[in-house]
Symmetry: D2
Subunit: 337 residues, 4 copies
């Protein structure tokens, strides 16, 4: 941590800061500047809050030097983390595509979707039983019954299951069926939930908050990991910006940035990002070309009949075409699919 004093801060203010640094068990290091004195704080700054110094008299600004996450950081864990689910090696050379509908709506719908995923070489199936919805009047998912249908998919078709968990008390029940627990975008900073999935033995797909920074995403991963669960998959799903032609803006730069900062696998969700089925193919190609380890793609056997998020679900035909297109792009960047 570096403390920048104001222009002309008197010596007693400088001394007070230096004393505080020492009291807290850190070593101060003073650099006299032409216009401002700068005080370095030597020691593990993760234990420190900026505000400890920020509002002392004479302090202009406090700058962190270290990244605030450790378990998630590539500095401390240089090799890529690979998470194996049903034979799919997430974070390894092959790109992993997870498909399925937004919500589980009926036995027929979910089996039809799962067959298409399987036919396209998929090993993991997505579908929501518990759905976070902006309106209390919207369809909020089939709940337990939806979970049971997912269990049937698993046993009948041999697909692994990823589904969302919305509260700490749901974790054991959902983990009874799901091979991967999904934490949704609105819950990225629901710390009670992060602690709960952190105590589970299941891998966790952590979706980036739609207005959360990459650093905050990594801090939320750190919550899960600090509870003992190191199997975390990160998923960029679009951030909120001023642009309105797409529902959110897919932050494709998050792929190279995350690959640099962390060893965890990085997924992309072009369906939620764009909110429009017709852009999903292009954004999927872009994601794989940028280096993503996998994709979450919403597909519905009959999108126009979907009870939620139909507008962003591709049809089976488009899904099949997208998988074929992605295979070529994956090969162009030295991967397979």
């Amino acid at each position: 941590m570096i403390i920048i004093m104001r222009n002309g801060a008197p010596q007693d203010q400088v001394t007070a800061v230096i004393d505080r640094v020492s009291q807290l068990g850190f070593k101060p290091h003073i650099s006299p500047g032409e216009e401002r004195t700068i005080i370095g704080v030597i020691g593990d700054e993760r234990r420190l809050d900026e505000s400890t110094f920020d509002l002392m008299e004479g302090v202009e600004r406090v700058v962190r030097v270290l990244k605030p996450f450790k378990l998630a950081s590539r500095d401390f864990h240089p090799e890529d983390t690979v998470i194996t689910v049903n034979g799919a090696r997430i974070g390894d050379q092959p790109v992993v595509v997870i498909g399925g509908p937004c919500s589980v709506e009926s036995r027929e719908q979910v089996f039809e979707a799962a067959e298409i995923v399987k036919a396209n070489g998929g090993m993991i199936f997505r579908g929501g039983a518990f759905k976070p919805r902006t309106s209390p009047y919207s369809f909020r998912g089939m709940g337990d019954k939806g979970l049971e249908l997912l269990a049937q998919i698993k046993s009948s078709l041999g697909l692994a299951i990823i589904t969302e968990v919305m509260s700490p008390e749901q974790v054991p029940m959902v983990a009874g069926v799901a091979d991967i627990l999904q934490v949704g975008t609105r819950n990225m900073q629901n710390y009670a939930l992060l602690d709960a999935v952190g105590r589970s033995a299941r891998p966790v797909m952590l979706k980036r908050g739609m207005m959360s920074t990459i650093e905050e995403l990594l801090m939320s991963a750190e919550y899960i990991m600090s509870n003992g669960n190191e199997q975390v998959i990160l998923c960029e799903r679009g951030i909120r910006t001023f642009e309105t032609t797409t529902r959110n803006t897919l932050d494709v730069s998050a792929v190279p940035v995350l690959k640099e900062l962390t060893h965890l696998p990085v997924f992309m969700d072009p369906s939620h990002a764009s909110g429009r089925a017709r852009y999903v193919n292009a954004l999927s190609r872009a994601s794989v070309a940028a280096g993503a380890d996998g994709l979450l793609i919403e597909m519905h056997p009959h999108p126009e009949m979907a009870l939620s998020d139909g507008a962003q679900s591709v049809s089976p035909d488009v899904y099949t075409q997208t998988i074929a297109d992605l295979r070529r792009v994956a090969e162009a960047v030295g991967r397979s699919l």
Copy 2:
């Protein structure tokens, strides 16, 4: 709901949309435009999802006509809601200031702070026992012991208590002490929590997500209200923008906008919005001048010793000065404090 067809959409696509509208139990109303056909959907559109039509062939855009919230809407409840807590009439003519530290840290700290709040005419005291923190390594509050200290403040000093609740299972315990349950900014769309506080008998202070629109804030209020609890206080606390001189950007326009859209009381939190104690006085004045019903102000007896958010906590002296300044501004806009 209005469905705008694409330029030159053939008649069979128009007919398909019209048929769908009828099938769903709504009445279609066709307006032929010069370049585009427009189809009105007559009926209670709150039951409908945009995406129902959005991805039918030939549809360009779907526009909602009605606001998606009802219980929170001034259309359906024209008079202001007034919530009485410990004699403070929230939402009525007097502006209500709630003060106190970010976190409960010790008996001494919290009593010292509470005395200052009381001396300045305050009737409600804030303090966090359970703290959502971006880093798992930061101080996360005293928990149950903090709650107990708040109970002591209540019985000794006669102040009402507002404190944050972070998960559904905490609700009964927190509601045992708190007069107002606070739902924090990161939990504004934690629907399990909204349902839980909606089933409580305590008034709820719902803080706007730092990344949430005003409409989403009202939809979250609607969640709480649709569970039976109509005592909801809304609180703007700064939104995330590109500007970095303040931690977030206080959306002061939210005051007149919310007063127009809803009957619920509107609070402002200049401390979290700015993240800087030195801007709190100016932003508090602006909030009251804009018509806010109340303020949440962080005050710490010794801000530089605070375990969390010290940088945004005002000192007792600044707090006292701010209350005096606000009294004059409140009177200038026809209110008292």
Copy 3:
């Protein structure tokens, strides 16, 4: 400037950076950290680009210590700048309200508006002759004829004039009539224009770009000032955010932030910020309460007939009421109007 080296950067990379600092005529100052080496650069960093070091091998991050503006900075000019225009002392104790229509549309319209401004004690009148419009098909102002009407207002009614200038070659002509040259939000970083108004003898009202930071606003002021014109008035007019109930979000925090960073007067434009006449009164009150030196308010004698921006123009009655309301708020914060 502070250069933070990567964790474990080898000594030769550190040495290369140190050598570069010296070569450029600055003094390096090395602080060994626990995990990272930090190199201070002593000297006037305004002459340096972050990127000079940013991409040297082993460098993790470069942090500026000094603010990049100097003439606009309160550090170098502690007293408030006061700009006198037609007897109005802008930046001094009284709050200055500038009213008038978005566009000059006709002799009748502009005189009617000016009479109302004058009757409410105004000394400066606003009106656009050259209008920046998003669409090439919208009304783009009366041009020279509009300027002539403004000259007539000036000579007949004794009001000073502020009007927008859109390109360098217009500056002499507009400065022949206008007492204050306005640089619009879309031109805040039109450097050719900033240079041109910087060479004029007229005060300049510089509007903040709708997606520009406060620091960028001050850098644009610095452009004007570095050309010799130190009479710059800053104007916050709403920034672009994700919120859609208002056209832009009025950044009321900009008032205390700018008053701290700069000696230049700070205005607010609640009309463009909100885009809605019905919010102008509340936002004007908030602005004055926050400490703004003045306001730009759009008023049209018949808003519903306006050729541009009618939706944000208040009627004469609302204007008169707003001035009365602002007088009380100004007094409550120790100022007059």
Copy 4:
């Protein structure tokens, strides 16, 4: 245009709106809704301002039906526009990469860079002679001398030139050398400049404002085209968001969105978007995979010596590698390079 009346708006307000529609020469079309009356406005709404109706009594909201641009719209010009420059067919099957340094700094630097571009199959060279810089104290380009060096590149190496033009009066001089005139991000809504390049015979590369929507970008293209110059190339270069690990956020979705809305060629600038040379390769691959017609890539023979934007300039080696990588991705999506 559709006018939505407020809930319970009395008949005389509805009538007043209908009358206004007729007076303005449009045909009103009334749809009675369950809660709100809706009035359609039939005719060419491009001639209308929302605010014409927005502030009439009883009006809740006004919704545009038509896109406000026409010449730029694919509706009116379904085939892709192809612009041929020095044999490069921009907007056609092959992806066109334009490389070169941010600024022209010296004869040696610019020739060295140009040779590398040529060796990699490039036909167009970029380099700035006039540079928009946030600080008046930064290097602002070599000006006329820079332009002359670009003219030498052109005659010696047979490369076409693209360079930025910053004000209307520079257009003739810059167009004397440049094969493509670049309008920079800060000038996207500098209407005097758009009009000036619209009257030039040179193709124009219009960079999206970092704070501008896709619709605004198309409206700015419409300005240029409505002046007679239909050779406009659009360029996405990153938008401003809350994320800070990259300088701006590359809006990769803009590619499929623009290809749908307009017939104009779409470029991407990963260098300015990310501000970091190390992310340029990944973002270039993503852009081509998403369907971009071309790329602007900053390359400097010695990035660490660059006078501007060195941090985002790739080295010759990385440039050569990137071109090779892009060739494979282009082929994977059915194009060449």
